[in-house]
Symmetry: C2
Subunit: 164 residues, 2 copies
DNA sequence: CAAATTACGTCAGCCTTGTTGACATTCCAA
DNA sequence: TTGGAATGTCAACAAGGCTGACGTAATTTG
């Protein structure tokens, strides 16, 4: 069965793969365009968006957790978190079990911004999905998952399991 | 028929769309990981990779053309192009028809680096495609295309036409 | 032909977001 | 109890975006 796939994929030439690479590049630009527009002019950037997104997804997460998901250094993340805390979008609470840790939550204002960003991004995603059709959507998700680094893919799959 | 799609997509909840957003984020990290690794330590970054990629794709392209495809300012692109020309990876030739223009080509060394970067990126893409299967691949490309900004999508589609 | 426009390059300065290095605090285990 | 490991913060730097201003050459237009 895996062999059958390989056979079919002989028709994917290097040129077609290059096209797919460009499609990924252009699509990612579209993917980030709406949040970028919202954030520009309010002193925030993509890094803030990512932090806000993942704090929303896993409330109470620690800085270290966030670090490994975002794939940046703690110093880099810290700068972003500091401004978000200062501006009252994120609440950073000293851990009770381990007081070295900081547990992160979105404030009401943080949730509001998260929703604004997420609404815009989901709207584009939903439109693309609607135009492409349901079969395309599942293929899309399948390929994306296989393009991730194995470690991140495990994390991603783990979240999926947890949701059921 | 479009209505039929909409009906099916009612099952795509906001939560599922958020998952797709994360998948896109993680997958893009994988997508750029290999070229990033190759380029780190040789004074180049993603910006150089993009320039090299598109000069390879459209040899003889002008600075202005490249600008609109990459979506950056000329000052930003110029910094990148200058180092590439200085290092002998890109050749910048004064236009013959319009001598204000500079036509960009990869040198042999530039083509060699392009191949190295492209090989790595295509290998990952090919592996993901093989694991996901042919049906998933066409869905993937379909969705990506619909996620682009309309202008870029027209450009993308135009290249496709030109290739037949 | 003169003037406006276009294409490109460059300088200066700023912002975001990545990096390393140094350091304080807290916890845990020898 | 003390030394090491883990967590998080501060400082400084680099890459690569951005805007604004300007210069130069070539082309187009009135």
């Amino acid at each position: 069965m895996a062999q059958g796939h390989s056979d079919n994929l002989l028709f994917l030439t290097d040129e077609q793969l290059r096209r797919a690479i460009e499609a990924m590049f252009f699509a990612y630009r579209g993917f980030t365009a709406d949040p970028d527009r919202i954030l520009s002019g309010m002193n925030y950037g993509r890094a803030h968006h990512r932090a806000i997104h993942f704090i929303h997804r896993t409330p109470g997460t620690t800085v270290n957790n966030l670090l490994s998901v975002l794939g940046v250094t703690k110093q880099s993340l810290n700068r972003v978190l500091r401004t978000l805390v200062e501006d009252g979008l994120v609440d950073s609470r000293v851990g009770t079990r381990d007081r070295r840790e900081r547990h992160l939550h979105l404030t009401d204002a943080g949730e509001a911004l998260e929703r604004e960003l997420s609404d815009a991004q989901r709207a584009r995603m939903r439109a693309a999905f609607r135009e492409a059709g349901p079969a395309a959507v599942s293929g899309f998700r399948e390929v994306l998952e296989h393009m991730m680094d194995p470690e991140l893919r495990r994390y991603f799959a783990a979240v999926k399991e947890g949701e059921r």
